[in-house]
Amino acid sequence: MKQFNEEESKYAASAKAFRANVTRDLGNEELRSNFRGAMDYLMGKRKSAFSLADELEALREQCKLIKQRCLVKLPHLLEQLEDKLETNGIKVHWAETITEANEIIAQLIAQKNGKTVVKGKSMVSEETALNDYLEERNVECLESDMGEYIVQLAKQHPSHIIMPAIHQNKQQVAQLFADNIDGFEYSTDVDTLIQQGRTILRDKFCQADVGISGVNFAVAETGTLCLVENEGNGRMCTTIPDLHIAITGIEKVVEHLSDVPPLLSLLTRSATGQAISTYFNMISSPRKTGEKDGPKEVHLVLLDNGRSQAFADEELRQTLQCIRCGACMNHCPVYTRIGGHAYGTVYPGPIGKIISPHMLGLDATSNLPTASTLCGACGEVCPVKIPIPKILLRLREESVKPKSDQPQIMQGQGAGRSNVEALIWKAWAQVHESPKLYALSMWGLTRFRFLMPKKLGGWTSVRTAPKPAATTLHEQIKAKQAKQDKQLKNGQG
C-alpha cells in the first residue's frame, strides 16, 4: 500500500472535505453566478465551433482511435520519446510520485543557482504543488498565464483546468489588483486589467533564471514537445530563460507528428471554441550553435502519479485518453452548480472525478464518483470519447467492493462500502428477483401508504414526499383482465 507523504496527504485531505466544500460554495451566490455565466459562454463557444455534426463525430472517432493506439503502445512510445528527445539534446527525467518530480526540478534549478522561475500554464505542476515546494526552498515562482497569475495573486488554486480564474468576475479581479499592485487604479475594464498584468510579467520574463512549462502533446517519432497557448507567455517561458523545464504526465505522448493536427483541432475547439490557438509551440531542442535565442538547456519531467494504475486496467485506461480541454466541466450540471474548488482536487469536474481516485486513492475520493446524476453530458462532449459515466459506475463498483485478499486494482478500493448499505441492496435484490416477494412488498407499500413519512431526509428539504398509489399497476391490470375474462365468458354463455 502506497504511503502518502506530506504534500500528497494535503491533497487527500482537501478531497475528503468535498461535502463541506459543496455546502460552502452552493451558498455563495456570486460564485454560482460567475460559474453559470462562464459555462454558458463556453458551451456557446464550443457549439459555434462545431457547426457540422457529422464532421465533429468523425473527428471525435479519429482522435479517440489515435489516443487509444498511443495508449496501447504507451511503454514503447515512452522509450521512443526518451530516445528521440535525448538525441535532440533534451534531457528526460522520470518521476513516479509528485515529490520525486519536485525534487528533480528543484535540483535542476539549484544546479544553475536559479532564484527566479516564470511558469507557463501547467496543471501537472499544480498536481505536484510545485510552487509551494520551490517557494519553501527560496525559489520565487511567478505564474505568467493571466488566469494563473490572478489565482496566484489571490493565493488560490485554479478552479478550471483551462480557465484557472473563471470563478472570479472582473470586479473581483479589479479589487484584487487594486489591493495587491502598487499604483494600480481600480478599473473593471478588461483590457486595462490585462495590460496591467502583462506589463508586470514582461519584466519578469527577461529577469527569470528558469522557465517552466507544461506539454500538450509529446511526439515520440520526432522528439517534439508541443505547447498550446493563447497569450504568448508559453513562448516567452520556453525561449527567454537559459533553462527550460517542461513537466507532463506520461499519457501525453503521441506516436506520430501527424497525430497532432486532428488532436489540436479538437482541443482548441472543444476548450474555447477557437479554430486554432493564438500560439502553437513545437520545441525540439535547446539552442543550437549559431542560434541567437532559445534556452541553453531543456529538460522534460515525465510524471506517473497514479497514471500507471489506470493504465493497468483496460476500462480505466480510457481515463488517460484525456487531452485536458475542459469541455466536460463546461457542460457538467454539477460543476456549474458547485464550481471547481469544491472538488478539493487539482482536476475538478467529470474528468477530475475519474482521474483523481488514481492520484489520491479511492479512500480520499469516494465522494466524487457518486456526485453525479450520470446525465451523460460529459461523455457526449468529450472530444476523445472517454465514456466518463461508465467509468464513474466502475469507480462506484470499486468503491463499494467488499474487502478481499485479491490484489487491488485501485488504491483504496472498498473504502466507500457501508455494511448497512450492502445489506439493503442484498435484500432489495432478493425482493426484486422474486415475483412473490415483490408483490408482497408492493402490497405493503400501497396498503400502508398512510404510513409513508412526510419527511424523507434530504429529499424533503426542497420537495414534498411522493405518495404511493392505492393499488399497484400489477393489480389494476389483473383486475382489468379479470373483468374482460368475465365479459367474454358471459358473452359466450
Binding site: 459543496v22 452552493l26 446524476t373 461523455g379 463499494v400 435484490a429 408492493m442 414526499a465 391490470i477
Partner: protein, 265 residues
C-alpha cells in the same frame, strides 16, 4: 446543432400484433394510471398488450450504486419474464436505456447464452420511440388550445433519443404549442440515489429546473420518465407552484379523447 448519436439508429420492425409492457417499479407503485393509459393507447392502435405479472424493476438502482451482482440477479429475473419474440415496450426512457444498452454488458458473461440477452436487448423500445418509429402514430388532437413544455430524462435523451420522438409526438398535436424552456437539455438533478447521497447538489439542480419550467409559462409539462417527474413535481409542490408534469402516455391519450388532463404528483 443536433448531436449525432449512432445509438439511436436502429432498424424498426413492422407494427406487431402483440407487445410486452415493462411498467417499471416507480409506475407500478406510485403512478399506475400512467401505465394503464399507456396500455389503453396501445390497445386503441389494435395491439394486444401482455403484462407479465412476474416483472419488477430493471435493476438500475443497484447498478448505478455499484452493486453489480445485485443488479445482475434482478436484471436476469426480468429477462426471463419476457420470453416471446415480440417487442418489450418500456414506459421510461431511463429504464429502457438500462435494458437496451446495459443488460448485455451486465449479463453478457454470466448467462453463457449471449444470444438470449442480445435478442432481449434488441426487442426493447422506449414508449415514445415505439409510438413514432414502429406504430407511426398520428394522434388526432381533440383537446383545447394550450402551451406545454417537454422534459426529457438524460438517459432517455442520450441513450434512447426520446427528445426527438417525444418532440415529434407533441408537435403533431394540432392544438398544442410546444414551448422550449431555458436549459431544456440540462439534468433535473434526480439521478436516483444521487438525490439522497448528494441532496444539496440535487436540490440546487431541481430548483433551477423547476424555475425554468415555471418561467416558460405553460399549463403543464410532459415527460416520459416518472423518475424525473417525481423529483420536479415534488419540488413544484413544495414551492406551492400549480404547474405539474404528466406522463406522455396519459397526455396523448387525453388529447386524443378530448378529455381534460389531470395533474399528477
Amino acid at each position: 446543432m443536433q448531436q449525432v448519436n449512432t445509438q439511436h439508429l436502429r432498424n424498426y420492425p413492422k407494427k406487431p400484433k402483440q407487445v410486452y409492457l415493462f411498467g417499471t417499479c416507480i409506475v407500478d407503485s406510485f403512478f399506475p394510471d400512467s401505465g394503464m393509459d399507456a396500455i389503453e393507447l396501445l390497445e386503441r392502435e389494435g395491439i394486444e398488450v401482455i403484462y407479465p405479472q412476474g416483472q419488477s424493476c430493471c435493476g438500475q438502482p443497484a447498478y448505478n450504486s455499484g452493486y453489480k451482482d445485485e443488479a445482475k440477479a434482478v436484471a436476469l429475473a426480468q429477462v426471463r419474464q419476457f420470453p416471446l419474440d415480440i417487442p418489450v415496450v418500456v414506459i421510461s426512457g431511463s429504464c429502457g436505456g438500462m435494458m437496451r444498452h446495459h443488460y448485455l454488458d451486465l449479463l453478457g458473461d454470466s448467462v453463457g447464452e449471449n444470444a438470449e440477452i442480445n435478442n432481449f436487448c434488441q426487442r426493447v423500445f422506449e414508449f415514445t420511440e415505439f409510438l413514432v418509429n414502429v406504430l407511426r402514430l398520428k394522434p388526432i388532437d381533440q383537446g383545447p388550445n394550450e402551451r406545454v413544455a417537454l422534459h426529457t430524462s438524460c438517459a432517455a435523451r442520450r441513450e434512447m433519443g426520446v427528445h426527438i420522438t417525444g418532440n415529434k409526438l407533441i408537435s403533431q398535436l394540432a392544438n398544442v404549442e410546444l414551448v422550449l424552456h431555458d436549459y431544456e437539455s440540462e439534468c433535473c438533478g434526480f439521478g436516483g440515489t444521487f438525490a439522497v447521497k448528494h441532496a444539496d447538489i440535487s436540490a440546487a439542480m431541481v430548483a433551477d429546473k423547476s424555475k425554468n419550467l415555471v418561467a416558460s409559462d405553460v399549463v403543464r409539462y410532459v415527460s416520459a420518465d416518472h423518475g424525473c417527474m417525481m423529483n420536479i413535481n415534488g419540488a413544484l409542490d413544495y414551492q406551492n407552484e400549480s404547474l405539474r408534469g404528466e406522463h406522455i402516455a396519459s397526455y396523448l391519450l387525453n388529447r386524443i379523447k378530448g378529455k381534460a388532463t389531470k395533474a399528477v404528483l
